[in-house]
């Protein structure tokens, strides 16, 4: 720990330097030591380990503490560094192939390895696989979510799960800090802070510094942790919109919830048809439509003043749309598609996917969005297609979830992603044909047709595509044709 330093953030100041200071997580820490011990003689079978778990539970700390305890040199590459193939090769590759000056061991820490796949880091994952395969030095990865790490990498690593800390352990950590800072503290106060952190000791320490710094005594009453439950929920807001008459009340209620206007409007949108009838519903939708126009202005012009009008239209505007009282249908959360269709994030997602497809087909993002994306969307319900598409275009988890209309955490999405990564790492992604290999177009397929925007040639392609799509829909989702399809398929449009 760096306790001699006074002007440093507490969570850093009290970062354990040795494994023995790490609270809780005994099992993973000893697993980590066991893996490290194997390195004493020669490189073990699995030359890398991955520490994964929620934020603030000691993963990064353990990685550095291990190096400290064993007298290893440590070198770190994290998400704030560029992690393209070249960058990874340069830093980690070099370090992994050469011994330290003294002939000791050098630990390579790849912090936050769950995030290497963004567009900015293209090729990084594949390079990492190569480096792990060829390293002569131990490699430690950390990640919040194992699903963000590709199968290829996971196969090469010893997985070590870190668990969220118990409130008791966190309270104990906080007590030590208080002692060190010369703050007398109330056990109840510490427990409250600890519980509020839900297992994340870093945020508990931050909260402690927030409430205790500069005090000589910390009393229970000093710990005002805002209880989320006391705030209005989205359902209270919906009630004020659909069941009550006060326009100001409905608007004001939205200030107390932490829901973005984009998200709120999709809640109202989802429930409106079930709550109002006839002309009231029509007028309600008119209000939502106006709200949406204002939201569009926020997005496009960064004109944040427009938020207040959007907010008023989607709440008060819907309040006044009712001409009578309606009995209570239950409020439903917006379906995934509805939610996705409206957020700015979704639009970015759509454009990002179109961009990736466009890149591979050498057409503009706009062309891909208007002319290719609809087909892709129609076809991803076929799982094999989805996998190949993901590998071909380099889609990430969020993008796959968007295309398949599933939640990001859904098993389906994760497995598609992983299989795609495997294809990608095996280097066969380059050979996949997404828009080719059907009809007269032969191997060139739409890839060329789409790229070639001269009017004579490409006319056929979209027509053919549509036919393919129709054929596919006729086949429906029965099992049998799908099996047949699996065998014969040489391209993603070759059914």
């Amino acid at each position: 720990m760096n306790i001699s330093e006074t002007k440093i953030e507490w969570s850093e100041k009290y970062r354990p330097t040795s494994l023995s200071e790490i609270v809780g997580n005994g099992k993973p820490v000893s697993d980590l030591c066991a893996w490290a011990k194997e390195w004493r003689n020669r490189a073990p079978d699995r030359k890398a380990a991955i520490l994964y778990g929620k934020p603030g539970i000691g993963k990064t700390t353990a990685a550095h503490a291990l190096a400290h305890d064993l007298g290893w040199e440590a070198i770190e590459l994290n998400a704030s560094d560029q992690r393209t193939a070249t960058a990874i090769k340069k830093v980690a590759g070099m370090a992994s192939e050469t011994a330290t000056i003294g002939g000791g061991i050098r630990l390579i820490i790849l912090d936050e390895a769950d995030n290497i796949y963004g567009n900015a880091d293209r090729g990084g994952a594949r390079e990492l696989v190569r480096i792990i395969q060829h390293t002569t030095q131990p490699i430690l990865l950390t990640a919040n979510d194992l699903y963000g790490v590709s199968q290829g990498i996971k196969n090469l690593c010893v997985p070590i799960a870190f668990r969220s800390l118990q409130s008791r352990s966190i309270a104990q950590l906080l007590r030590k800090i208080c002692q060190n800072e010369g703050i007398a503290c109330d056990a109840e106060a510490l427990l409250r802070l600890a519980e509020n952190a839900h297992g994340d000791s870093r945020s508990a320490i931050n909260d402690l510094q927030a409430v205790a710094q500069g005090k000589s005594k910390l009393h229970q009453d000093d710990v005002v942790v805002s209880s989320r439950d006391s705030r209005d929920t989205i359902f209270d807001v919906l009630k004020k919109i659909f069941k009550k008459k006060d326009i100001k009340d409905a608007l004001n209620a939205t200030y107390d919830i932490d829901e973005t206007p984009d998200s709120l409007i999709s809640w109202v949108d989802e429930n409106l048809p079930a709550q109002y009838r006839g002309g009231d519903m029509v007028s309600g939708f008119d209000a939502l439509s106006r709200a949406d126009i204002f939201l569009g202005r926020v997005q496009r012009r960064q004109n944040y003043r427009m938020w207040r009008y959007a907010g008023a239209m989607m709440t008060s505007g819907v309040v006044v749309s009712k001409s009578r009282e309606y009995a209570g249908a239950r409020f439903m959360p917006p379906s995934q598609w509805r939610r996705l269709g409206q957020t700015r994030a979704a639009r970015q997602m759509r454009d990002a996917i179109s961009g990736k497809i466009g890149l591979r087909c050498q057409v503009s993002q706009r062309y891909a969005r208007l002319n290719l994306l609809p087909f892709v969307k129609g076809l991803v319900s076929d799982r094999d297609y989805a996998v190949r598409l993901a590998a071909w275009a380099g889609l990430d988890v969020g993008e796959i979830a968007y295309l398949t209309g599933s939640k990001k955490g859904a098993l389906k999405v994760k497995t598609i992603y992983q299989e795609a990564q495997t294809m990608f790492e095996a280097g066969i992604a380059e050979e996949i044909e997404i828009f080719g290999g059907f009809g007269q177009q032969g191997q060139q397929g739409l890839q060329n047709a789409a790229a070639d925007l001269k009017p004579e040639k490409p006319k056929r392609a979209p027509v053919a595509l549509a036919e393919e799509l129709e054929k596919k829909q006729e086949k429906g989702t029965e099992k049998e044709p799908k099996e047949a399809l699996k065998k014969a398929q040489t391209s993603l449009f070759d059914f």
């Binding site: 603030g56 994290n78 704030s80 900015a120 870093r202 931050n206 927030a210 805002s226 505007g317």
Partner: protein
């Protein structure tokens, strides 16, 4: 998350001990998130505050490269003068892409000897969990009129200022949940006159009196376009208000104007929003506001010739 009740007290204890954790301020616009960040920096760094405080608006530069290059370089250079660290204020941090937020994670930890982050955002749900874990989170709710009043009265007593009852009300109206504005108004008015009353407050803050705005609206709604338009001209030229201020005040007032049914009010709010948008797009705010008044006439359905 730490409750808002004692936010100011907490923030000033950081200043007293000259140390702070990374902070995240969440809440609607105009409740003093930026103001708090600036005042922490001013008090912490004194004369060198401007060199040690960097403000980046995340909505201008939202990508991962900003984090990897610009922010990282700011973070690792040493503070100026005898400051112990510098502060990077990331305004509208919820506009950062997920990738960019991820890249920020380790930067926040590694350069803590030279730098602290203050993130400001409207919605905490848009900030990824690992970033929230690295910050003490403060939620800024809209500041209540009562809190403003209490603060104003406290300062007035301390500084022995003479403030009238309607002066206090005027400050509440002007501040509209922004404590900094309230205190500024009080301070400037105190320099102007021995007694602080409503007129002094409205004058010094270039704000129209609420009843003037209400009259502007109801005149138009009742069909007296000429009178309403004359009043508008006064506000713009004689009182020197900006179109943006006026449209904001009209928006606030319209909820409370008597004699207009709720349905009509919503219709008007829609028109007000449209006008607000057109003011930023257009060249002449007077024309846009006149057009708005004409819409009010139309809504009221009475035409005086």
């Amino acid at each position: 998350m730490v409750g808002q009740t004692n936010t100011i007290g907490r923030l000033s204890s950081y200043v007293r001990t000259e140390n702070l954790p990374h902070l995240m301020f969440t809440g609607p616009p105009g409740v003093g998130k930026t103001a708090s960040a600036v005042s922490i920096a001013r008090e912490l760094f004194g004369d060198t505050w401007q060199s040690n405080f960097t403000e980046l608006n995340a909505s201008d530069e939202r990508g991962i490269d900003v984090v990897r290059h610009k922010i990282k370089n700011f973070a690792r250079t040493s503070p100026v003068g005898d400051a112990d660290f510098k502060i990077i204020f990331l305004d509208e941090a919820d506009a950062l892409t997920i990738d960019a937020q991820s890249a920020l994670r380790r930067t926040m930890e590694k350069y803590t000897r030279t730098c602290r982050f203050i993130l400001s955002c409207n919605y905490s749900s848009k900030i990824i969990e690992p970033i929230q874990s690295r910050c003490a989170v403060y939620r800024f709710g809209p500041i209540t009129d009562e809190a403003v009043e209490e603060r104003v009265r406290y300062i007035a007593t301390e500084e022995q200022l003479d403030i009238t009852e309607d002066g206090v009300d005027a400050i509440k109206y002007v501040a509209h949940g922004d404590m900094r504005k309230a205190i500024n108004a009080l301070q400037s008015a105190a320099m102007l006159d021995a007694t602080i009353d409503r007129d002094a407050i409205y004058q010094i803050t270039a704000t129209a009196r609420p009843e003037e705005i209400e009259k502007l609206i109801s005149d138009a709604y009742k069909g007296d376009f000429a009178e309403s338009r004359r009043k508008l001209g006064d506000l713009l030229t004689k009182q020197g208000l900006s179109g943006e201020d006026i449209v904001g005040q009209i928006y606030r007032a319209v909820f409370d104007v008597g004699d207009i049914p709720d349905r009509k009010k919503i219709e008007l709010i829609d028109k007000i929003g449209e006008t607000d948008f057109r003011i930023t797009e257009g060249a002449n705010e007077r024309i846009q506001l006149e057009a708005l008044l004409a819409q009010f006439v139309l809504s009221g359905g009475i035409y005086n010739d």
